[in-house]
Amino acid sequence: MPNRPQPRFPEPNTEYFWEGCKEGELRYQVNDATGEVVFYPRMHDPKTGSRDLSWKVSKGEGTIYTFSVVRQNRMPNFIDLGAYSVAYIDLDEGFRIMSTIVGVDNPTEDISIGQRVRVEFEKQDEGEYPIPVFRPI
């Protein structure tokens, strides 16, 4: 099993998001007044400053906006991983998330911008929080 760095707490902005990952939910916020999507999770809507926000659950499907394949990372968690992808995914609900693309044989060949992907929650060796990753549909 992978051993990605875990989120660290207390961190009030992102805690509810990560609790959602334990439930298999990809959670995001909306501004109650304008309906505007707020992401990464925050205490306020960065467009208006409003703190009246509600949580919703994403369907978990989106499109790859851009990506890179990392060939070299000196962090212990990644040093032995080989080449792996880092990507921004635009979820259909209108928010952008950093993640990785799994389920591809060769990340340099098999990933492309515009590809449709779906979230899944990857269990980790250590740590209680599964990490949201994306797999081509």
């Binding site: 990605r4 760095p5 875990q6 989120p7 660290r8 707490f9 207390p10 961190e11 902005n13 992102t14 998001f17 990560w18 999507v37 992401f39 990464y40 999770p41 925050r42 906006y65 851009t66 990506f67 890179s68 394949v69 990392v70 060939r71 070299q72 990372n73 000196r74 962090m75 968690n77 990644f78 991983l81 792996y84 880092v86 990507a87 921004y88 635009d90 209108g94 928010f95 952008r96 998330i97 950093m98 993640s99 990785t100 340099t108 911008i113 515009g114 990490i131």
Partner: protein, 395 residues
Amino acid sequence: MAQERTAAIVGVYEYPLRVAPGISAMEVKIESIAQALADAGLEWSDVDGLYDAGDGEAGGGLQLAAYLGINPTVIDTTQVGGSSYEFHAAHAVRDIAAGKCKVAVLSYGSTSASNRVAIGTGGRVSPAPNWQQNMESPYGSTLISNYAMVKQRHMHEYGTTTEQLAGISVATRKHAMRNPEAVKAMTDLQFVGVREITVEDVLESRIVADPLHLLECCMISDGGGAVVIASAEIARNCKKPPVWIIGSGEATKYLENNGDITTSAAAQSGPIAFQEAGINPSEIDIAMIYDSFSITVAVCLEDLGFCAKGEVGDYVANGRLAFDVKGTPALNTDGGGLSSNHPGMRGIFLLFEAARQLRGESTSQVEGAKLAVAHGNGGLLGGTHTGGTIILAKD
């Protein structure tokens, strides 16, 4: 030209070594401040403005003045990554114009190479949990992969190729080979092949993070330097001709839903600076653009208005921005971060070489150079970053 000429760069010093084992960051700063003041013909005791990004063992606003032994009337500790020095220069001009100080000193010292700091490929973990890091650290995104994602999107959206962008590395290396300090830097850092490079060399160099090749990435060096900025009255009596700061702009940019990752903070800071200077990008002779990576230069050239968004591939292809090509600005004529000096925060070096060009002192001198831009990019292009633009004019 109708710009205001209230303050000028009057002294610069670039610490000559890029590998300096046993030398502390503070030694680099002190040596550089002394030499930059000597370059200007000013005294230690003339300094009344201190601008510092908090680098070095006794840096920062609380400690540095005490260590230097001066009593500044202005202390500015803006720390916005590699563009900190463009922000400092902008603030120094404003502070001088407001009469708050007359002789401003900016300095930088770093031992990144000797300490083996993996700036581009190491992890970035803050001491305390942080909203952004909690969302990103599980994925192993390195500094380089942020920039790489910008390049990937630029290639996708505009058909830009690595072959085109290699023109940036080729022109910059050409300049580096004419600069003895850059040649020594590449030698001391054990570059494979200290020589001019071709587009093919760039394409054949290994990929660090797709689609960025090694020869599109800056070095990690030791080093530093200092700049002295003085009021018009003082500048006119300094040893060397003043290099006037005639415009400045500051900006930040970050990840936004539906945002355009191929547009940087320069799209905000550039127009502000050019408007203040009352000139157009087409009038610029010297473009000192923070070259952490090829794509940083590419995106910033577009955002500053040297060419339209998406057209930078043709604009930089085949080394068109070399100092001896007519009709285009000369890019990073000292050899840049790619091939001369990058200890982590390169912004200050952009000011040095811009000043050297406008004094006629560059090792790749552009004849008759009158106007220069120094644009620093701090933080992570593609993620949270800053842009600081400074426009400079020959006396």
